[in-house]
């Protein structure tokens, strides 16, 4: 589904990604963790070209990411993304947020797009908020709207960039529940997160990033029970002990 080979990226002189190689199969759920600044967010942002990689290749669903704008747009139609800061459109209602892309990108009739948007809001558990504006919702509700908005394009792959990091603790669960349901439904997902409970339960594979590359990857059971690298053990001891 996604093939990354030897992906490099620099921000000016700073070498953020140092030859990341990773293959993700259909319906796989990957959790990416690692210390901040390790390049994990940058990596998933290269997959839908919010960041440009300078070396190596990324192939998503058979389409190679290149400078060709048509390829980029084709990939963005197939890849949904959820951001740490939600990034809902504040001037549109919740329903309009979700229905916007199907109407303008998929060229669906408005009625159909809004019907589907309504069903998605039902799926993420907030159908009653459809006509409110994002600013009137709690953080957890906003993030669930953002998930519905990404799903509205019927993507084959969903990217999550620290979806719970900006949330109050009591709202994290409602978002993770939606993500768990999505994982069970067979969606291909790449999730950057520090929620190790979610990783243990929902992930097929955990990849640990440090200094711009994957240090080790394994099934959750193996990853938590028998981390191979010292760096991974240190990281796990730090985040699991608090």
């Amino acid at each position: 589904m996604i093939i990354c080979r030897n992906v490099h990226k620099w921000f000016d002189d700073f070498h953020v990604l140092r030859g990341v190689t990773m293959t993700i199969k259909r319906q796989e759920v990957i959790v990416i963790c690692g210390p901040s600044g390790s390049g994990k967010s940058t990596f998933i942002r290269t997959i839908n070209r919010l960041e440009e990689h300078q070396e190596g290749e990324i192939i998503v669903d058979g389409i190679e990411l290149s400078h060709d704008i048509r390829n980029i747009e084709a990939i963005r139609r197939e890849v949904g993304m959820v951001f740490q800061q939600f990034n809902l459109f504040p001037h549109l209602t919740v329903l309009q947020n979700v229905a916007l892309a199907p109407i303008w990108v998929r060229k669906w009739p408005k009625a159909r797009a809004e019907e589907v948007a309504g069903q998605l809001l039902e799926r993420v558990g907030i159908p009653e908020q459809a006509h409110k504006y994002p600013g009137q919702l709690s953080g957890g509700q906003q993030q669930r709207v953002a998930i519905a908005r990404a799903l509205a394009m019927q993507p084959k792959i969903m990217l999550f960039d620290e979806p719970t990091s900006a949330l109050d603790p009591e709202m994290i669960k409602e978002v993770l529940d939606v993500m768990r349901e999505l994982a069970r439904s067979g969606m291909t997902m790449i999730v950057v997160t520090h929620e190790m409970g979610f990783a243990r339960e929902a992930a097929d594979r955990i990849a640990f990033f440090d200094q711009g590359n994957i240090v080790e990857q394994n099934t959750p059971a193996e990853f938590f029970a028998h981390p191979k690298e010292d760096r991974t053990r240190l990281f796990l001891s730090q985040i699991l002990s608090h």
Binding site: R77, F89, H91, A101, G135
Partner: protein
């Protein structure tokens, strides 16, 4: 009070009498201050009212209303200006029903203004009185039409677009139509000219300003350079100079047989001037949009144009409404500079009226006060509309 007692709700705001007692009469020096203030207000307002109603002589204005309204527009053709206003009143009535809110306030103001003209306590031609009566009627007719199946936003918008052509035809005349002979724009004047200069400037400078602002932030170097140069050059030159350039220099560059109308040249100058400032205001709004908004739009697959039109501009423009309206108000005031290129707008009419009669030379205060009041009414209307618009759009702010 013991620990189990509930916390009391704060007391409700006091009534008028208690408010006065608390804020104006609470101590002996507050009583004194209140008294002094009251005496001051009394004498000032008595002086002002006495001057307005007894001392001042408003004859220059009451006997020159036609000049103030339309300048040298041929007297037998003035009905065309009146009809144009009636057309606008009709569409205000229609839009009142369709959109409601602030539009309704303006429709009402138009109706009340018309009715006031009908009952003004000094000599007016019966035609003007009739127009005053017709104005509120047409607002009402528009409102009633708005209740039929024509009362849809799209029909109202189409009507406004058509009314633009209609008013232009009425004011300039149509070739080959005997009852609409051509009226040279040089004969336009007074409030009519002020209004047209401002309206065209506002309506045209806004889209140009949006395009310039977008162009200045474009990634295409040539476009960016062009927009930046245009904005910086125009902003570096006084409006008076630009008006001069358009009226004197522009004809030198055009072929002999192409003559651009003097009013049109002033309109073009004012539009370009306003557009440069508008662009910078709008650019401020564009820069305030968080990059996350654009990333989110890209991530759901919107292309660049869609991102700009659907996501960035609606948010950016809403943020800079106060600055944009301030710009509109300034533009309205700047129409007085059209005198530089020989146009006789409201302020010049005032000067001409004062000088037209030796007895009126001493009455310049009355005339300028009247002109100031007229400007204030329209600028306040704009400012009011802007505040209402902000409130309406304020829903769902982040």
């Amino acid at each position: 009070m013991n620990a189990t007692s509930a916390i009391r709700r704060p007391p409700a705001p006091p009534g008028a009498v208690r408010w006065i007692k608390k804020n104006l009469l609470s101590t002996w020096y507050n009583v004194l201050l209140t008294l002094v203030a009251l005496i001051f207000v009394f004498f000032v307002s008595r002086g002002v009212l006495r001057w307005v109603f007894f001392t001042a002589n408003w004859t220059p204005i009451t006997s020159s209303l036609k000049l103030f309204a339309v300048g040298q527009f041929p007297p037998d053709q003035v009905w065309r200006v009146g009809t144009a206003v009636l057309l606008v009143s009709f569409f205000f009535g229609l839009s009142w029903r369709v959109w409601g809110g602030t539009v309704g306030t303006f429709a009402l103001a138009l109706a009340v203004g018309g009715a006031a003209v009908a009952v003004l306590p000094f000599e007016l031609s019966s035609g003007v009185r009739l127009w005053g009566v017709a104005n509120p009627l047409l607002v009402g007719v528009g409102y009633l039409v708005g209740r039929t199946s024509l009362g849809k936003p799209r029909w109202a918008a189409l009507g406004w677009a058509l009314s633009f052509g209609g008013t232009t035809a009425l004011l300039t005349g149509v070739r080959g139509v005997s009852w609409l002979p051509r009226v040279e724009t040089g004969l336009w004047g007074g409030l009519l000219l002020t209004f047209l200069l401002a309206l065209v400037g506002i309506v045209a400078s806004f889209p140009i300003g949006v395009l310039l602002a977008l162009g200045r932030r474009s990634s295409l170097p040539v476009l960016k350079l062009f927009c930046t140069l245009f904005i910086e050059i125009v902003r570096g030159v006084p409006l008076v100079t630009i008006l001069f350039m358009f009226s004197v220099i522009l004809p030198l560059f055009l072929p002999e047989d192409v003559r651009v109308d003097r009013v049109l040249r002033a309109m073009m100058g004012m539009t370009l001037f306003a557009a440069a400032y508008m662009a910078e205001n709008i650019r401020g709004g564009l820069q305030a949009i968080p990059s996350g908004q654009i990333e989110a739009a890209k991530a759901v697959g919107l292309n660049g144009l869609q991102t700009t039109v659907l996501i960035v501009l609606p948010q950016a423009l809403r943020m800079v409404i106060p600055a944009i309206v301030g710009q509109f108000i300034a533009l309205f005031m700047d129409t007085t500079l059209a005198v530089i290129v020989g146009l006789v707008e409201l302020l010049q009419i005032g000067r001409a009226v004062i000088q037209s009669n030796p007895e009126w030379l001493m009455l310049d205060m009355e005339v300028y006060l009247f002109i100031g009041a007229v400007f204030w009414v329209f600028t306040y209307a704009m400012s009011y509309a802007s505040q209402r618009l902000e409130q309406t759009l304020g829903v769902g702010r982040r």
